[in-house]
Amino acid sequence: MTDQAALNTATVTDVPKARRSVGSVFSWAMFIFGVLYFALPLIGMFEFSLRKRRGTYSFDAYTTVLNDPQFQATFSYSVVMSLVTIALGMALVLPAAIWVRIRLPKMRPVIEFITLLPLVIPVIVIAFGYLRMFNTSSFLPMTGSITGTNILLAFGYATLALPYMYRAIDNGLRTLDVQTLTEAAQILGAGWFTIIFKIMLPNVFTALLSGAFLTFSIVLGEYVFAALLDRPAFGPYMIWTGGNRAYEPAALAVIAFTITWGCMGLIMLAGRLFPHTRAKR
């Protein structure tokens, strides 16, 4: 073997090894940075929430929060609101998503564009628009009564949830062969009601569930809409606690984070429990 050849073999085998080890040290460093940055605030908030009793760790902050009638009232208000929002969002989005797939493909870009708008227009602007459009001196004075304001808040939440709800349902429909299923059902004499409730709904069940849990976690902690419409929701309650208590906010943050995790966990669980096979082409 000539020197030149030896040199060549050395370059071919050694350089990639050196490459890999430098790259890998850097990669581990980045990974550890990521873990620290994401984990420390979670550990910090948990540790802080246990510090209410001097000198020892306790769940006192949680006891205080959970026994606070304000917490119970605002939390259950927000839970009810998110359930209403989920029902409303599905009732609006599911038919629209199915229709643009089977009957109105021309409208699909329009519907998609509309569902993106809530991500483009800041929430506070939409809420501001509501206050000006639906105040007591307008053509639809919804903010005039408590029930009206509650309904308006649910409508606002449904608007916020549109992008997530539509994407979830559309992803679910994408894996189905909607056209063939519909035609097959029609040949067998099914009406539209049967098609939607007996064929589409069971098939996009997982997608609906993931849209629902995502909406739930968004609505539960929402602040701007509830605060501007002046409704006693969980978001404004958290802000209030933040300004008036020391350890309880951390306990609330732990509860909120657990709920977010729970919702994401349930989305994945739903995907695993009700898998559906892809339409073969």
Partner: protein, 290 residues
Amino acid sequence: MATARGAYISRTAANWIGVIPFLAFTAIFLLLPTVNIVLGAFRGPDGGFTLDTLAKLFEPRLANSFWLSIRVSFFSAALGALLGFLVAAAIIHGGLPKWLRAPMVTFSGVAANFAGVPLAFAFIATLGRLGLVTVLLRDWFGINIYASGFNLISFWGLVFVYLYFQMSLMILIITPALEGLRREWDEAAQSLGATSLQYWRMVAIPVLLPSLLGTFALLFANSFGAIATAQALTGSSQSLITVQLFAQIRGDVLQDPNLGYAIAFGMIVITAVANAIYIVLRSRAEKWQK
């Protein structure tokens, strides 16, 4: 004739019945309120058309708030995009165990949704004056971060907190793009004698550039509209434009109702431009991801 027409009408009705509730709802509760705000921005106190209200956005108090919001969004988006990219690239192409990928993506999904009020509380509990990390650094290492100029309730403090959802959103969006990088490209570059750095600089980054810039624009819009985190973290000490608008809506602090419309219009313009950039660049990025 009449029956044919009737059939036509009923067929058209059947074609539209599924989307009509959706269109009606979004028209009344999304489009109309927004259009109303936009039109209001061009109206004076007397109701006539004017550009004076919009001109007031350039007065120092509002211009400063807009500028502060733009800077917070810019830095949190730039740092979030950079760091999120590095973390995602490390996990996908850095030789780290493969089983780390799925938990990372799942966690990013949760963290990207962990925003608003609780996020501010988590950081106060960690890096506030009595926070866990602050206290540990002081007691174990003798480092007092607050004495050395660190403050969570400051511009950079806010950027640092925003990174939590910005970085995780970046990881979530850039992971598919990174997975789309073909192994063959790296191998081809290697066999031509390229170093790792050269491969990233001359092959991978140019391919990913539309995704990177597009996601940057999305992150920018994402933090521009945020308010709850800032409200919970800094009260009103950092007067972001969202915080100003919130105060204006609550108490009409600017003594000019139309000014609120103008602020809202300005915000829509900025987020719309950022999102338009995202959509254009994403469609360009998709040509590499088949």
